[in-house]
Amino acid sequence: MKRLSLTATCLLYILFSLPLWACGPYFPDYIRSAEQISPLRSPYTYNESFSGTSPGIIFPSWRIMFLYQAYRGLANGDAHMISLPGAIDKTAHLDWLAARKSVTDKDAQVNRWAEGEYFAYFRNYLDDAFYTAANTLNERKKVFNRQEMDIWLEGQDEVFGSIEGRLFDEEFDRDIANPLLKQDREYQRAAACFYARRYQEAEERFREISENPEHPWRIYSALAACRTLMRRANAEHDAELKKYGTREEGRKKAVAARDTWLRKADDCLESVLKDTTLEPVHPSAGRLREYIMFRLEPLKRFAEAENVLLSAISPSEIGWNLSDFAILYSGLKQKDKDFIIQNGGDFSQWLMAMQSEIEEPAGFAAKKWGEKKSLPWLIASLKTMSPDSPWIGGILQEALEIPADSPAYMSARYYYFSYLVKSGFDREKLAEQLDSFIGTLDRGKAPAEWNCFADLRMLVSPSLEEALQRSLRKVVAAHDDYETLSGDFELLDKKIQSMFNECMPLEKWAEIVLQEGLFTPGIMKQLSFTAFTRAVLLNDFPAAEKIASKLSETDAQLKKDFSGFLESSTFGEKKFSAVFFMLNYPRLNTILDSAADEIIVKNLPLNIRDIYRRNWWRPYETSSPAGQRENLQGHAEELLQLLPEGLIEKAQEENRLLSDIAAPNYLADTVIKYASENPKDPRVPKALHLAVQATRYAGFKDEETSRYSRKAFQILHRGYPGNEWTEKTPYWY
């Protein structure tokens, strides 16, 4: 049974756990845009107060346990806790050790894992074993004398594998006067056999105890005998595998052997359930039978688990059935969708409808809504509805009538508006409706929902300016291994970032960054630096000057650092001065990316080198038109139509030019050329030093980079011996 439990636990882990990533370093990914929020697997990532009655917008990407809670909230208006089985109670063995300490000073080690076949381990002692032992110890303390207690404890230590003693010396028992202690030791012996995987002997001993109506362990032994058969099923499975190999023949024989023993266990449990004197263990026996059914009759178990889930209240009952259901549902969804469509219950059918990209089969969700008129089906039909659906009018009307205190409210509105956006509904009217709805939302309490509706609103903006004004999103979560988000931060919508990177030429960047107060100061600054970098690389110095002047207005350090650039007159001097500035500001980039997000959120200085080499820019990888549309996350039509004609083509041409510029080569080359013509410029030695450094610390290099590094190094050392910057440059790279 415990191997079965282990298997289920592993599967649960796979189903419910977050993915694990190897190695590092990891960089934060700030979640704010609808296309980032909607694929998340847990609503708790951004909403700690999630519950079935307050689910927010229900997304089909959620793990089944959250979708179940949402379903129950929609269907019955109830919120239930779920206690998932298999969760490891790390304190169970500590409870035992603590109880044990109350009667002895001797330490004991407990290893809850046992080594199975093929280098795999399994959890040998489940939590209930420790709880039962601790409870029994506390009871026996009251009735046993010191010597009896020592004997009992010694036996129990042997059960838990801590020692090897006299538990199996039945001669020794003859000298024990206390009959309760003798009976305890009989049970301990059976249990020790069980944990030592001597299953035949364990079964015989448990049966012997269970047949003694006077024995205090009779009831538990009756159940334990069945559990022994279940464990044996797995042992026989592994033994066959070892004997016949792991190819198909071996696997078939292994499964056959396992199933034979599981059937025996099932018969055993059935007889326990029929015996009314064993009532205290009936719930456990029922659960064990469910395990067996999971293996032997998965479809039956699937239907049974779903049936329980539709009305269960107990957290453990829900958890127990949900874990089996989730595993079986996932298998069926991949292999036999028709079974769910034809034989599934309301929940599994709803799940499948929600998780389908399109209505499948056509009109399924809408028909269900027509039959049931229930909230879950209203949401599912709204989410998947096609414009030619005959139920369209009724569904949309119904969605609007959902009251604000309904758990379906947010989802109904979101999928309602999403449908209208997708179906090309009048943008102006839709904008009005969305404005009015967003006005009722509390951005502070439900930022993720607010962002999703703001996203829709942005998509129906009549102009680029308005879309930009509506592109600020509150960060709702940060994905990264080592840091958690603290504080409120705003970033640009991801799609708008893509538009900047791919669809806007420099003239548009410059126009935007020279405006006042369009975005937060942090975002404006980052945009400005990026626009400045683009302007310099594209040799558009007038634009670069305007941007630099604006940046200098409010920052004394920048004013000083830009002064060389702003005051220079010739093209060569201008370019060198711009490059000198860039060399001093390694975090300058040509695009808005996740590193730029991190700079904004953490207010990182751009003139400090990144230890992870996210310094300067990488050659721009131009996207194909198809790639551009992909980056706009399915909303290319809505967003691209906001751009004046010819803008995208111009942006593409600029990006093509940027794609040829390797940062360290460009920086070093500019400095080398300027140094040869202006060797007396006092900035040159430092510029050469920084150029050499750039060939080491830039995030991108190519086969030419070392040549530039060497050249800059040689000019520095030959032309400026003894200079402090020469001393600081002992190597080229």
Partner: protein
Amino acid sequence: MKIGAFGITTAVVCMALYNACTAFGGKAEQNSPEIVLWAWERCENLLFLKEETRVKVAFYAGIIVFREGETVFTPRRQLLIVPPEIPLTAVVRIENRQGFIPDKQQISEAVRIIAITCIKKGISGCQIDFDCRSSEFGFFKSMIEELKDKLPSSMPLSITVIASLSHSGSMVDSLPVDEAVPMLFRTGPDEDLIRKGLAGQSFMKASACQKAAGISLDEPLPHAKYLQDRKLYIFNTRPWTQKDFVEALLKIKLHIKKKVLP
């Protein structure tokens, strides 16, 4: 002239392909690099390695998590089926999730667990997989030193290291390990440099990092010069199959040959 150049190129490519195919034939032979397959926490059936003489397996044997002052060990729970003649290295993954450096007691507990896990019949090597941050290096060093004392002298102790720690002069060289395996995958911003062979003269030149390299099948291979004449640890994001194995060997062999040929 053009035809001649094309002909030479074709001949070179054919020769490389022929050599690669005949050298392997689905097997790692004497002239190929020593290969170690990382077998992670999933059911792995590696019986197809039966006749391989240059292949070893490093298997995930469990994870030690330092959490809230406790040292929690979860051993491997998935079957690992390997031919008995294949040398095995037990890999213990370590994660520090408690926000502070593990104390002496936790180090001792971890060392005891690792030693028990590695000193087993059929296991000939021990590897520690820990993404060590610089602030954790002191603790890591203490742990490795204590572990080295506990392991039999005949058992090689290996560690995995992030690529950026493989430069000459790296603190990795102060560890008493027989081998440090630079992980040349999931390297973040350095990915491009590693692929182009531009990660610098000192890259992978730490003494401990000169014998091996770690790669993953789901990423393009690093530059050949970082793989040549090294024992190669290969990570697969899915359970190993014979097809994956054969293809991986061919890919590596061709990759290395292509770069070596003029």
